[in-house]
Symmetry: C2
Subunit: 387 residues, 2 copies
């Protein structure tokens, strides 16, 4: 998972804390055991493409036509698996079992790192590249069904603070178009480092998750806005007050969000344009942005979601009375294979004891990856805008 790798490379060095680190992969060589022969084309393939295939163990079998190559490898989950040339000139090989859910991967042909020509493409690791979907036992919650669907809208707007035309994606729920007198709360939902505003709509399946939740009557319907949180500019200034960690500088994005995006959304969509009906959440770096921006602007957001992006300790809160009055929900989550879950759970409990409506969720058997974040959104959405 490239994003995780990027984060891992950067974050521990900066933070001196293991909060975002993934459990080290225990398998670092190709497994010798025979894969179970129940492979089927991945649902993340381009239409009609038979490879890559996945089996019930979560293994990925790639097949690349490269008749004149000397070496071809499948690079997934931090391991490069050599493919073997078949008689027909295609190179074929199988990975170790992967976690359920979505994984970025790439192909290496004679040293060139390229997307697999057979997969759909997703933005992560600061590039458009291949992704593969490992069927999950709980995939029903993000499966496309014959239920009323919302819309995922590509929207351009002018940002005064950055003097640029910017793009965001906006999910509107099914009743946005059928109940035209109704106004809706808004969740601002951010991606991780090396990802962009397309992540939640593509590999995150945010729209399908919401459609299914709404159809089941499990959540209020609300708008979701997904913008590009950019790359962090590392602030060379003084360390943050309660640790030795130099902070990420999200000030440019904060300005775009507060000064341009929120006013644009509130003037373009039928929102309820006030703090009680505005939430912010994000994954990994987007969770860090949520934590930083929401804590600094208690008058802007009432519901906070941090997915694999740290947590909020009681001593992060300068004015507990104001926080209690303004913040209706704090939700933190991690994958069970991530480190950081212990301290996040402890922080969540401490917040609860301090009288905050605080939730902790742990995604079973997943790491710093999209299945953790899909499940987090699925858990988080029903908590929003309940007043």
């Amino acid at each position: 998972m490239k994003t995780a790798i990027l984060c891992l490379a950067l974050l521990p060095a900066l933070s001196g804390e293991p909060a975002l680190a993934q459990t080290p992969q225990t398998t670092n060589a190709v497994s010798q055991s025979e894969p179970k022969e129940d492979f089927a084309p991945a649902t993340s393939n381009q239409q009609g493409k038979q490879y890559p295939q996945v089996n019930s163990e979560g293994r990925v079998r790639a097949r690349i036509v490269a008749p004149k190559a000397q070496s071809v490898a499948l690079d997934i989950g931090g391991i490069k698996y050599p493919l073997i040339k078949s008689e027909d000139g295609a190179w074929v090989g199988v990975s170790n079992p992967q976690d359920e859910g979505f994984h970025y991967y790439q192909i290496i042909i004679n040293g060139a790192q390229i997307p697999d020509p057979n997969s759909l493409y997703f933005y992560g690791a600061s590039r458009w590249g291949s992704g593969v979907e490992i069927p999950a036992k709980d995939q029903d919650f993000y499966t496309l069904k014959n239920v009323p669907h919302g819309q995922l809208r590509e929207v351009f707007y002018f940002s005064k603070s950055s003097n640029t035309n910017r793009r965001c994606f906006v999910y509107t729920p099914p009743d946005y178009d059928t109940d035209t007198g109704k106004r809706f709360p808004v969740l601002y939902l951010q991606h991780g480092m090396g990802e962009n505003e397309t992540g939640w709509g593509n590999q995150g399946h945010a729209a399908l998750i919401m459609d299914n939740l709404i159809a089941a009557g499990k959540t209020k319907s609300f708008i979701i806005v997904m913008e590009n949180g950019g790359s962090p500019r590392l602030n060379g200034g003084p360390a943050s007050p309660h640790g030795g960690r130099p902070s990420f500088d999200f000030s440019a994005f904060e300005k775009v969000l507060l000064e341009d995006l929120i006013p644009f959304i509130d003037s373009t969509f039928r929102t309820v344009a006030d703090q009680p009906h505005r939430a912010m959440a994000g994954l990994s770096m987007g969770g860090m942005q949520t934590r930083m921006i929401a804590l600094a602007h208690l008058d802007k957001f009432s519901h906070i979601g941090i997915f694999s992006g740290g947590s909020i300790a009681t001593n992060d809160i300068s004015d507990m009375a104001a926080f209690k009055q303004n913040i209706k929900v704090v939700f933190c989550s991690f994958g069970s294979r991530e480190r950081g879950s212990t301290s996040a759970k402890a922080n969540a409990n401490a917040l609860k004891e301090a009288g905050i409506n605080s939730y902790y969720y742990e995604s079973p058997l997943t790491a710093h990856e999209w299945q953790s974040w899909r499940r987090s959104l699925y858990q988080f959405a029903p908590l929003l805008f309940q007043d």
Copy 2:
């Protein structure tokens, strides 16, 4: 241009007519002349990627990092250009001048056909692959500007006729959200063979073309619906009445369009749900679909656009009086480098003489490719819904 190549491979053999054929490429070897050194990164690159680059002659310079490869080629416009290995292990080479506008291309590494890891990806030639934008003298009409923007919406719906969940994209104009009492006409706009419902929104820039036209007061504002016209099933039945050509079988798509899509759009969006406010157009195969479906259903569509997809002769019209009464505009277009323009122009003139509001447009110095179709939409849109 892969789509063109696919069409060329299939259509002349079927039709015995040159209407959709491209002018043969006169350059079939790598030009020896020195390229002008004013290359700049293509606007179709992934963010931050410096290659491919294009120069003022329309040449494309590709650069691929493949240190252990024996051969790397750039495959664009039907020609494979060998790249040369640089000292840094990257392979670099330059193509002959390309027409202004958008072109599909691919990279070949040791015989493996792959997308360029540096470009954005577009659906054409029945796959997601690389595309490159050659700056055009008239590119202003599809440039992203600080004007009011419409929205490009990804919409899922259930199709009874095919018993599947289907996806379409819907462009809503800027005033769709600001003037919520207003109802809008609809253009159904189809892609070409080997393309899909994403083509007009991505490489076609349909939303930007409409935004700019509307901002300039040059067109009525209307909704555009883009669905997947599928692959043609070739009808093995009798030849069509006026030629030896076995017809494409678009009946499955026709059923989806008429029985599922139009009713869904009319019930979901604020449309004016009648024939005078419904148009159909398409490029290449989508033009053939438009011609076939619109002619067979004069009660459904009032405006017809056929871009590089043939034309309508007077003897295609069985009941001229009914046609005149129902069809407000017939628009046909070709790129000037395509064959077929002469007969299309003659047919357009004949229709005009027969009293039909008939238009012919020829895109200067372009072939069977997206620049012809962007320009066609730009010319066609202002003719729509003028009553």
